[in-house]
């Protein structure tokens, strides 16, 4: 049995109506659980870039990749879970902060290199960017003060170095090698560390 872990996929799709629906529908249809999904413009005109986080094993990840490629509007799929990659998430946190507690909250914000972007008599809004771990850590120390509202964007990711995931839209990696999955099943390390 192979172990389940969070897989992060970068998916380039044609920027056309209904494509997000097709991708989301595929995950539902094949019973994969999306942990997060973000979409925005990519460097190529006419293409959008999604970052999708899914919990699955190595074989599931390869099947998912193959299924994504079956969508006619999908241009490129890349599993960036392993390898030198930068992951980031943005969060805004509205925390209760009275005159007495505000300085404590501000100190925590400093320690976590977050920013205060709004101050009201009874609250502050904190903005922070980082790995999920870092945001979780900040939330934990803020919780005692009372978190009024929270929004997180979900993970976005990019590989390190000069290479783009989408160097040449004509070129396709060989993700079809289901064979790779079998090899990876052994190599999978569930304790991938996320460097800041």
């Amino acid at each position: 049995m192979t172990s389940s872990q969070r897989h992060t996929f970068v998916v380039y799709v044609e920027d056309k109506p209904g494509v997000l629906n097709r991708v989301a529908s595929l995950f539902r249809r094949r019973a994969f659980n999306i942990e997060s999904l973000t979409v925005g413009h990519a460097e190529i005109p006419g293409a959008s870039r999604m970052t999708i986080v899914v919990r699955t094993d190595a074989i599931g990840a390869r099947r998912l990749e193959a299924n994504l490629y079956k969508l006619v509007n999908v241009l490129r799929v890349h599993d960036i879970t392993t390898g030198p990659t930068i992951f980031r998430e943005l969060a805004m946190i509205k925390v209760a902060a009275t005159a007495e507690t505000r300085t404590h909250v501000m100190q925590l914000v400093d320690v976590f290199r977050a920013r205060v972007v709004d101050v009201a008599p009874d609250s502050v809004v904190i903005e922070t960017t980082g790995t999920e771990d870092k945001i979780d850590g900040l939330l934990e120390v803020l919780r005692p003060y009372g978190i009024i509202e929270l929004v997180r964007t979900g993970r976005v990711g990019m590989t390190r170095g000069a290479r783009s995931v989408m160097i040449d839209p004509e070129e396709r990696p060989e993700p079809y090698a289901a064979n790779r999955a079998a090899d990876e099943a052994e190599a999978d390390d569930p304790n991938v560390s996320y460097s800041v």
Binding site: V74, R172, N179
Partner: protein, 573 residues
């Protein structure tokens, strides 16, 4: 010179340029502009009696010919009636183009009369679909849709065209070849290293079996499969949809595997040390319990759809690509072999559990479905196109009609859609006017789409229909017999007099109750220029044996009971 065309005209013009000569459809408000233009084009339109029929006809047309089948319907109820046929084609990888009318683009989202979100409804059951709301998009989308439907792993594509797009007009011409799909790559090829790995596994195998699936037919790889099997001396087992890919009489062809395959075929699979799976997907109907499935076998999987790899069964090597091309590349790496010992082992298993020999059954006056099918097989020399419905008769057909040619068994495998046979046979006949076409349907499934008898009459189509009338929803009754203590809830079935019914439509009808009537009646039906419906009133509580109960181990089949089997030979004891 630039000419003006309406969207409605462009629909047909594009289809004509794709070589489409026949479409199956039903008109209505939102598709009316297209219908108005139809009269100007050299396309035969078959007016169906229900849009489900149109999709099954297009599907039958596609399966018999290998071309894309085209079905047309109006918005709302017309389109939703197509859903079952689209899902049927999706699960069996059948290339279909469904064109539906949609309300005017300004009305979309307003719950206008007969507005349904058809692209939304069909999203998970189409290979791809389109909503076209501008006249200029019609031609490129239709060519794209036809290309997507037939290329790679084929499947149904739906094009929903708003009424205003049909009514709009535009100038200029277009090139049908000009298809821009940057993300769509049906042309896959595995690495040389993977080919080498596959060949090594195959060459060292002592007890290999080739699995021939639907992909053999879809890819047209019949010759390659046969040559590979012959050269390396490897027996072949077929899936239900793979039947016809290898001639039944070929000495290496063992027949059908799986739930109602012969026990010895399944036993051989459980003994095998290598499975070479060609264009099949290890469906639960062929594997039984996957945990105990072919435990000693390495598995090589060749399929055009990489999403099938490791889905149901974990494989050792997977080669993505069009089967014919993959086998062309693989064949030179495969050594000629002699696997006489393995074939002898299989032969011994066969002797132990031989298929009942219907030909030599004593005629006790009872009529059994197996008799009927076996007689039709003999009389048509195994060469007819047989279109089956879903149920016991479908499995008996697969067991007792020995198909020799590709695309001669047309059946709903993946979805198991009752009501498929009659309309699909109409499509098959129009695709292959020269072929003899038989429907083999149950009394239940036939009643689901029997309105299409009127289509047969109107279009003057000549096929023959064998209704295996057992007075039950037989396959469900069989499950109730085995797994629900014979509590026959909602399975006894009252039917009309099918012969008289056929006569109402101006078709031929006959009723057969004994075996000796089978041959003369089939002979008369074949000679009749009208479609003839024969009501074969067979033994009511007959059972399809052997059977792997759903999810059970493949080698633990329910075998023919003894003593006092209903239909047996001495061999079966």
């Amino acid at each position: 010179m630039a000419s003006m065309r309406t969207g409605a005209q462009i629909i047909w013009e594009a289809l004509v340029r794709e070589g489409v000569s026949t479409v199956f459809g039903y008109p209505g408000g939102a598709i009316l502009p297209a219908y108005d233009a139809l009269l100007e084009y050299p396309i035969r339109h078959v007016l169906v009696r229900h849009e489900q029929g149109a999709t099954h006809m297009a599907d039958g047309y596609a399966r018999a010919s290998g071309e894309v089948g085209v079905a047309v319907a109006t918005s709302g109820p017309g389109a939703t009636n197509m859903v079952t046929g689209i899902a049927t084609a999706m699960l069996d990888s059948s290339p279909l183009l469904c064109i539906t009318g949609q309300v005017g683009s300004k009305l979309i989202g307003s719950d206008a009369f007969q507005e349904t979100d058809v692209t939304g409804v069909t999203l998970p059951i189409t290979k791809h679909n389109y909503l076209v709301s501008h006249v200029d998009e019609i031609a490129p989308v239709i060519h794209e849709a036809m290309y997507v439907a037939r290329s790679g792993r084929p499947g149904p594509v739906l094009v929903d065209i708003t009424k205003d797009a049909q009514q709009g007009s535009t100038e200029g011409d277009w090139d049908p070849q000009d298809v821009k799909l940057p993300g769509y790559r049906p042309d896959l090829r595995a690495s040389d290293a993977e080919y080498r790995r596959a060949a090594d596994l195959l060459n060292s195998a002592k007890r290999p079996i080739i699995f021939a699936g639907h992909g053999v037919l879809l890819s047209g790889a019949m010759t390659q499969v046969r040559e590979l099997a012959e050269r390396a001396d490897i027996p072949i087992a077929m899936t239900l949809l793979g039947i016809g890919g290898v001639p039944a009489e070929h000495p290496l062809n063992m027949g059908m595997m799986g739930m109602h395959g012969e026990a010895w075929v399944n036993a051989a699979i459980q003994e095998a040390d290598l499975l070479l799976a060609l264009g099949m997907r290890f469906d639960d109907r062929v594997t039984g319990n996957v945990r105990t499935y072919a435990p000693n076998a390495r598995k090589i999987h060749i399929d055009i759809d990489p999403a099938e790899f490791n889905k149901n069964v974990k494989v050792d090597v997977a080669l993505a690509g069009d089967l014919s091309a993959v086998l062309d590349d693989l064949a030179p790496l495969v050594e000629a072999g002699d696997r006489a010992a393995w074939l002898a082992t299989i032969n011994d298993m066969k002797g132990d559990v031989s298929v009942r020999d219907i030909q030599n059954l004593p005629d006790s006056g009872h009529l059994y479905a197996a008799h009927v099918i076996n007689d039709i097989w003999r009389m048509t020399d195994g060469r007819a196109i047989v279109v089956t419905d879903v149920g016991q008769h479908q499995m008996w057909e697969a067991q007792y009609y020995h198909h020799r040619d590709p695309r001669t068994l047309i059946t709903s495998g993946g979805l198991g859609t009752m009501g498929f046979a009659l309309p699909a046979a109409i499509g098959a006949k129009l695709a292959r006017p020269d072929a003899e076409v038989w429907v083999v349907a149950g009394d239940g499934g036939f009643q689901m789409t029997m309105a299409e008898l009127a289509t047969i009459a109107q279009e003057k189509i000549k096929i023959n229909v064998a209704i295996i009338n057992n007075g039950y929803l037989g396959m469900v009754r069989q499950w109730q017999e085995f797994f629900y203590e014979r509590r026959y809830a909602a399975t006894p079935l009252l039917s009309p007099d099918f012969a008289k019914l056929a006569e109402c439509f101006g078709l031929g009808g006959a009723t057969v109750k004994t075996r000796r009537e089978v041959e003369p009646t089939v002979e008369r039906a074949r000679a009749d220029e009208r479609t003839v419906v024969i009501d074969f009133q067979v033994e009511q509580e007959d059972t399809v044996y052997p059977m792997v109960p759903a999810g059970a181990d493949l080698h633990n089949m329910i075998r023919r009971p003894s003593p006092a089997p209903i239909v047996e030979t001495a061999d079966d004891e």
